[in-house]
Symmetry: C2
Subunit: 423 residues, 2 copies
């Protein structure tokens, strides 16, 4: 067992009940304040540990950390140090923060300067993202979409159970929580219309996804096996892959989604390490037909992470419209990475690999409005009585993820995005 | 007229007949030598001007260039200075290099240190590429592919003449000339096979493309009009979008090409500025049906650039297998950029936007082996008598581009890539 994961550990930092950030989590992020340039931080309870301060004041001595490693806009250089070092940092933090360690706890000045309340910080995208890939790995989602757009009898395309289908997305428009998006405009054409028309999307949608962040760089020609894949995974975030369904329907044949997706994707601020998720491993589904040898795997590489989506109209309370789970994946991250690199495609630290929309088998676990409203054929009633088939202007979409087991809860925080009207 | 484009200008640097790099070109690149770290250079004749040396020795004074702007691995910061400055640098170089300017010509030491023979340099990818987009904008290519895979009567999909179809590609695997690629492996399944199999691609192909490099950054929500688009285009390169046709056929429905493309794309080393291409503008095709207003444009934004592809077997002479032209585009770069950003998608300096395979109307102008061999139904005979339907191991594929008019030739140099066998 990883020592920092010990469920009996308590911290001298107060951690509220149901916090996403107990001492067993210690996720990494990048934050700024009114007086601090962007620096690396680690979440605990309602606080952010300023990693620059800790490193400069000797609390991380002996771990082989270069000077200035946390004093950067992005975590890429830190992640590039490799798992033996990044995991040792997590272990050291776990030591420093445990209730019976007085080193930082009893140094009033250091404690006050090293711990910043989350309310005083703004979270940023934590890694410089070279490339972003979006998979399509939830069977129920692929089945739902195939049923709606094609045929329920042949909902899954012939390749779907043989390979983790994916496409490349846009890295430039990945944004952190609390940055609003603007309703995109584009071409749409209904089946009965003679020509396309132009205007704001009428079918703005979220996609409930998780994403992993690459920990290791490979060279062109190299491939990563399923057995080695987790060494190349730093951690996970919750990922909202914004979509404009009407633009998508008109543009996507034959080369896939483009403007329907590339205007924005929102990510949760904290990268929860794969090591912190270790207690929440579960077995994946039996894969039938049998996969090709390079996609076979041993062990449990699915994770039991509860996922929720709220819609919050401007002047009303939020309503949870979907409750799904990261374990509803047919293809796990190790298979995704093995497939992605089997042709020699190289990856870089900080690359983002999203899961695709994660839908469970019950209708209230579907991960998009497209599925929840079944292509706009039914509505969801908000708490103020208004109805939604897709997302309205001024709505905020809030996604959450948390794993829970034996009294231990490891969470991702929220990713919240408000939709502003088209310009 | 742009002064540096004056066709009567001569340089004191010897420029061989049919050189791609007369004084009217002055393209930008990044090179290294045995004793120099990567720095910015400009091509003239058979030489590279070391821009660091010129800047440090006062030859570029008064242009507002920051110290160290050329002493970088990538041109992004230089390009970010904006067109008024980058164009002023080209004008200054044109002045310095003209036959009657003695300033550098007659300073033996500076001349010898500032001019490096191309044989002594290795060219690198010149920009840090945030995102790479591949369009599909040549009508003949789309028609050929549609005829082969679907139906000659309905070869173009319904959206093709309404919007410049595109998808996101992989930025990490874009490589410079003279870097070999390794034949990718992957899943393939023929129509008569019960299950997919795994192995090296049997249908490795090139795609003859041009690409433009973004000069300007936009914010999310902003869009670029066709009228403003050229301000956001720094210049052009020749682009070989390597493809594995058998992998592509099995994987690409419904989300587009992925592993069939993301193992490698090769680019020519010199970015020829859009200003240098100004004399080679031509009108584009009449677009029918009429495009939506945001895709309308005024003026000539197509370019008459000859494109050639050679295949060179390991121990035989090269054969030119395709002669195409950049003007065979239905959608021009301004329309591509206007479409790409009409939904508010943001772009960054250094982003790459490739044209898609450029095929002319005659079969010897098709830009891929898929089309030249018509899906493998006919062969091309090499000079050593061997035959090609696709690309063999140890073959080199060499692409060239050059514009020629009234005795002036502006070229791109070559992008040459050797194919090594699968590991």
């Amino acid at each position: 067992m990883i020592k920092a994961n010990d469920p009996t550990l308590k911290s001298w930092v107060e951690v509220p009940k149901n916090s996403d950030f107990p001492i067993q989590n210690l996720p990494y992020g990048v934050f700024k304040t009114d007086y601090l340039e962007p620096v690396a931080g680690v979440a605990i309870g309602e606080y952010i540990i300023d990693m620059v301060y800790l490193n400069e004041h000797g609390y991380l001595d002996g771990l082989g950390l270069p000077i200035g490693i946390f004093n950067q806009r992005y975590l890429n250089d830190f992640i590039s140090l490799g798992k033996p070092i990044t995991n040792a940092v997590r272990e050291r933090l776990s030591e420093l923060l445990r209730h019976d360690n007085s080193q930082l706890r009893d140094n009033k000045k250091d404690r006050e300067l090293a711990l910043i309340h989350m309310d005083d910080a703004k979270m940023l995208v934590p890694v410089r993202i070279g490339d972003y890939t979006d998979f399509y790995s939830s069977e129920q989602h692929a089945y739902n979409v195939g049923s709606m757009f094609r045929d329920p009898e042949n909902a899954l395309l012939p390749n779907w159970k043989h390979l983790p289908v994916a496409y490349h997305g846009r890295a430039s428009s990945i944004i952190p929580t609390k940055v609003p998006i603007i309703r995109p405009k584009g071409q749409t054409k209904g089946p009965d219309e003679a020509a396309p028309s132009f205007g704001p999307t009428k079918r703005l949608d979220f996609e409930l996804e998780m994403a992993f962040i690459a920990a290791g760089k490979t060279e062109m020609g190299e491939n990563i096996t399923t057995a080695d894949a987790e060494d190349h995974i730093f951690g996970f975030v919750v990922f909202n892959d914004w979509s404009a369904r009407d633009i998508q329907a008109w543009e996507y044949v034959p080369l896939g989604p483009f403007l329907a997706k590339n205007f924005a994707s929102s990510i949760s601020p904290w990268i929860v390490t794969i090591e912190a998720l270790d207690p929440f491993r579960v077995a994946g589904p039996q894969q039938d037909p049998k996969v090709l040898p390079y996609l076979e795997y041993e062990g449990n590489h699915h994770f039991d992470v509860n996922l929720e989506v709220d819609i919050k109209p401007e002047n009303a309370d939020a309503l949870t419209v979907s409750r799904s789970n990261f374990q509803h994946m047919y293809w796990n991250p190790c298979q995704q990475l093995a497939h992605h690199t089997v042709n020699g495609c190289n990856i870089n630290v900080g690359d983002v690999f999203a899961s695709g929309t994660i839908s469970g088998s019950s209708p209230d676990s579907y991960g998009s409005m497209l599925e929840l409203s079944w292509m706009g054929t039914k509505s969801i009633t908000m708490k103020d009585g208004s109805e939604r088939k897709f997302i309205n202007d001024q709505d905020s979409v809030i996604m959450r993820g948390f794993a829970e087991k034996d009294g231990l809860r490891i969470g991702f925080g929220e990713v919240e995005t408000k939709v502003l009207p088209s310009l």
